[in-house]
């Protein structure tokens, strides 16, 4: 399915694989580190990598889309918005609801960053939906892993390993993703509640048979229901609450961090924790998503304190937005685990070409 009229970007589909391969080969010959740039929408997420820019946004286009197979394959530079539009026409969606963080976001960048939106605890994460990849490794080889079928255990699961690796293991040329039908009906509710009762309610409802697709708490408890009309209405009747106006907008704004909570310059932390835990008190403002499993914190607390609080309950933290360019962003890894990360990095990218230092120093 070439030349999709995406409507969003005016750019045509293009196959830049051999040019990208040449660029990597050339960088390899010069031992020149590369900074992989898709749409540039998520550059703020991690530390800035050193190196020459390797632009991948021109390598774009949907290569195959089979609605009945629930699979789509697209080049890494394909705009996320364009991909989602095509899926919507087929009555389907990326069920992990990836944040865009800007109109230029690409599918390759979304997978490399491995972020998922509000639907994640109910539908699965970015990595859960990865079925296959084609990548350029640090030896400038083009490699294919996984495929387009639902179950595949031939060889190590390199495809899913790419999700969230921030491009440090290779350049994502193509990804094949499982897609899901869009729910027939979606409805948002909101409830007046204090934070503690909200955590309890989220826990109770998440362990019920409700057709949930969103469970968040800012000043109110927000619930999104998805399914067929009768199920959504039945759930609505039994849960009570008020139908939230602009329901769909709320979840988009939450995903895109367009809510007032996310405005301002204070450090924004993402804490990924077991949903029912009560965290050690940290100063600042909270917003809960994922039924309590993903918690956003605006704080001026020192990084060490936030990392320690997250780790103490079996979770981890990430400094998501900060004005300090050089700050460590991800939860520190235990030295042996870090050693394994280095070995794996060397297995894909022996000369350390791709995004050096973006995830962790020395990786």
């Amino acid at each position: 399915m070439n030349g999709t009229a995406g409507g969003i970007g005016a750019l045509p589909d293009a196959d830049c694989e051999s040019a990208l391969q040449d660029d990597v080969r050339d960088a390899l010959a010069r031992r020149q580190p590369l900074r992989i740039v898709g749409g540039g929408s998520k550059g703020f997420l991690a530390r800035s990598a050193e190196g020459e820019a390797l632009g991948v946004a021109d390598h774009r286009g949907i290569l195959a889309y089979e609605p009945t197979e629930l699979v789509v394959t697209a080049r890494g530079g394909t705009p996320l918005a364009e991909l989602e539009e095509v899926l919507a026409e087929g009555g389907q969606m990326l069920a992990f609801e990836p944040p865009h963080f800007g109109a230029s976001a690409t599918i390759g960048g979304a997978i490399a960053c491995g972020l998922s939106g509000p639907r994640r605890p109910f539908a699965g994460s970015a990595r859960d939906f990865v079925l296959g990849v084609k990548l350029l490794n640090g030896r400038a080889e083009t490699l294919r892993f996984g495929g387009t079928v639902m179950k595949n255990v031939a060889g190590f699961d390199v495809s899913r390993l790419m999700a969230g690796a921030c491009g440090t293991l290779g350049v994502l040329l193509e990804v094949s993703l499982k897609v899901l039908p869009r729910p027939r009906c979606e409805l948002s509710l909101s409830f007046e509640m204090n934070p503690l009762s909200a955590l309890q309610a989220m826990q109770d409802w998440a362990s019920g048979s409700w057709p949930l697709s969103g469970l968040a708490y800012d000043d109110r408890l927000r619930v999104r229901l998805s399914g067929n009309e009768s199920a959504v209405q039945a759930a609505r009747r039994r849960l009570g609450g008020e139908p939230a106006e602009c329901g769909a907008d709320y979840w988009r704004a939450l995903r895109e961090q367009d809510l007032p909570f996310f405005a301002g310059a204070a450090d924004l932390w993402r804490l990924s924790v077991p949903p029912a835990v009560r965290l050690a008190p940290l100063p600042g403002e909270w917003l809960y998503d994922w039924g309590g499993a993903q918690r956003w914190l605006r704080t001026s607390a020192p990084a060490a304190e936030v990392f320690a609080a997250a780790a103490s309950c079996g979770g981890h933290a990430m400094l998501f937005r900060t004005p300090m360019a050089s700050a460590a962003r991800f939860q520190p890894l235990e030295p042996r685990l870090m050693g394994l990360h280095r070995s794996l990095k060397a297995a894909f990218d022996p000369d350390g070409l791709f995004n050096p230092g973006r995830m962790y120093e020395g990786l």
Partner: protein, 498 residues
């Protein structure tokens, strides 16, 4: 049949067996180390029993510390190690190597913690799959991945194979239902990968380790996700007089945006065998049946069942039954769950294949399989996870008839080639093990295989963990390639399978 590994995948060492046994016994105690041939015999194969190798030594550690001690000794001495759970694997993944230690994890069989509020359970690798669900059932919870072997297979084995089951269509494979693995490395160090949260910092090692067939480390603890027992479940049974129509119905159900909890296919041979075995009330005259289950909120389930029923009728089902109650629903499933043993009663032996294909190709591939079966003069029973496109052709043969096992293996290789030809894979959930190692040379070019080896070396630089499994050496593939005879044919049907 004795399995011989490829020379390039063998690891030589000159360790004195008696001295090594003594060293192991000092760490684990005398009865946890087996070295007499009659004690080793039960470990010589997994459920792919056509391949057998007597292990050098078997160890039965009881704790993580003991697993670490075993790994430290083996690592220092350069002795290969093969991990083993319940030995229900169908691809020879737990097949011993003749100069290696077979590390049985069955004594690490405790459920360490159940965390109901966070819907997690922390278990040791030797815990049986079904034991997890049994333990959490009083809390209204369950562990979703449900391989047919669930009463016997272990969580460690499930993780190592990324096992699936009937309910994986909706609830995901093993990889989707874990949050943490504790791994003993080849050096004997203990690593924690993942945590109690939905994701973890750093690379997604959890995904990489899942399905790694014991090649990257020894899994000694796992945190699994639990789900709530669905509020309601309803099942349909549809009969077809043509397998193609049944295959098309599967594609239509998925294509219509329905997400069944399970969608299973059984062909005429399987229907008759199961009916004779468990009397589930299946329509014995049918060419195929589909079992289709929905679960969740009753309103959702009712609407989905009605939609699926309409699709099945439109797809020319000759009969569609709705289970009137839970008892009837369980009767529908009873036959499916008993299908493998039932087929075991109608043939002296069967050989279970495990390819996955795009669903739209189901009808064509099923017809292709029956043509091949006729060509080879062997029976094939098809019972499989249709919703995922995951085929399990069971090739019927009699190992006591000279040549029939080899014939069955050749037919199996042809069937898997058929799966590759339509863009599928040679294994959906049973793993590569030794069984499909040659086929991996077909599925992956040399550069991809070299990348797998690089990943392997990052964990296990000397290749001590489960040598000769899952990823073929480039030399093996080169030799197979050199023997390539003619297009479309596998290069090795004439050869004895190693």
């Amino acid at each position: 049949m004795t399995h011989r590994s490829h020379p390039s995948e063998q690891l030589a060492h000159h360790v004195d067996k008696d001295a090594f046994v003594r060293a192991l016994r000092r760490k684990l105690g005398p009865e946890a180390v087996l070295a007499d041939p009659e004690d080793l015999r039960p470990y010589e194969c997994d459920a792919l029993s056509a391949y057998r190798t007597l292990p050098w030594i078997v160890v039965l550690p009881q704790s993580t510390a003991e697993v670490q001690a075993v790994m430290q000794l083996c690592h220092a001495a350069g002795v290969p190690v093969v991990a083993r759970g319940a030995g229900t694997g169908l691809s020879g993944g737990a097949l011993p190597v003749e100069n290696g230690v077979l590390l049985s994890l069955t004594r690490l069989n405790r459920i360490l913690a159940i965390d109901a509020p966070n819907r997690l359970a922390r278990v040791q690798p030797g815990v049986r799959n079904a034991a997890v669900t049994e333990a959490v059932a009083p809390l209204g919870l369950l562990y979703a991945p449900d391989p047919s072997s669930q009463i016997a297979c272990t969580i460690g084995g499930n993780v190592a194979e990324n096992s699936g089951g009937v309910h994986c269509l909706k609830y995901g494979l093993t990889v989707h239902n874990l949050t943490e693995i504790k791994l003993v490395t080849v050096e004997g160090e203990l690593l924690t990968v993942g945590g109690m949260s939905l994701d973890a910092p750093g690379y997604d090692l959890l995904a990489l380790l899942t399905g790694s067939e014991g090649l990257l480390g020894i899994i000694v603890e796992v945190v699994v996700k639990l789900i709530l027992r669905p509020a309601s479940a309803r099942a349909l049974l549809a009969a077809f007089d043509d397998i193609g129509a049944a295959g098309a119905a599967v594609a239509n159900i998925i294509g219509a945006g329905l997400l069944p909890a399970g969608l299973e296919f059984m062909d005429a041979v399987t229907i008759r065998a199961t009916e004779a075995f468990v009397h589930a009330g299946y329509p014995v005259g049918a060419a195929a049946i589909l079992l289709c289950e929905f679960d969740g909120l009753p309103e959702q389930v009712d609407a989905d069942v009605a939609a699926a029923e309409a699709i099945l009728v439109a797809a020319r089902a000759t009969e569609v039954r709705r289970a009137a109650d839970d008892a009837e629903r369980l009767r529908f499933w009873m036959g499916r769950k008993a299908a493998f043993p039932a087929v075991g009663r109608i043939a002296a032996d069967y050989y279970c294949m495990d390819g996955t294909i795009p669903r739209r190709c189901l009808a064509d591939v099923l017809r292709g399989i029956s043509t091949l079966a006729e060509e080879f003069g062997l029976g094939v029973a098809n019972v499989f996870h249709a919703g995922d496109g995951n085929l399990h052709p069971l090739i019927l043969y009699d190992a006591n008839r000279p040549g029939e096992l080899e014939q069955a293996e050749r037919l199996g290789a042809r069937i898997l080639q058929l799966c590759l030809d339509v863009g599928g894979t040679v294994t959906g959930e049973h793993g590569v093990g030794v069984e499909k190692i040659d086929l991996l040379c077909r599925q992956f070019p040399a550069a991809e295989l070299a990348q797998f080896h690089a990943v392997k070396r990052a964990f296990d630089p000397h290749g001590l963990l489960n040598p000769g499994k899952a990823v073929p050496s480039l030399r093996r593939c080169a030799e197979l390639g050199a023997m390539h005879v003619h297009g479309g044919q596998l290069p090795f049907p004439e050869l004895e399978r190693f």
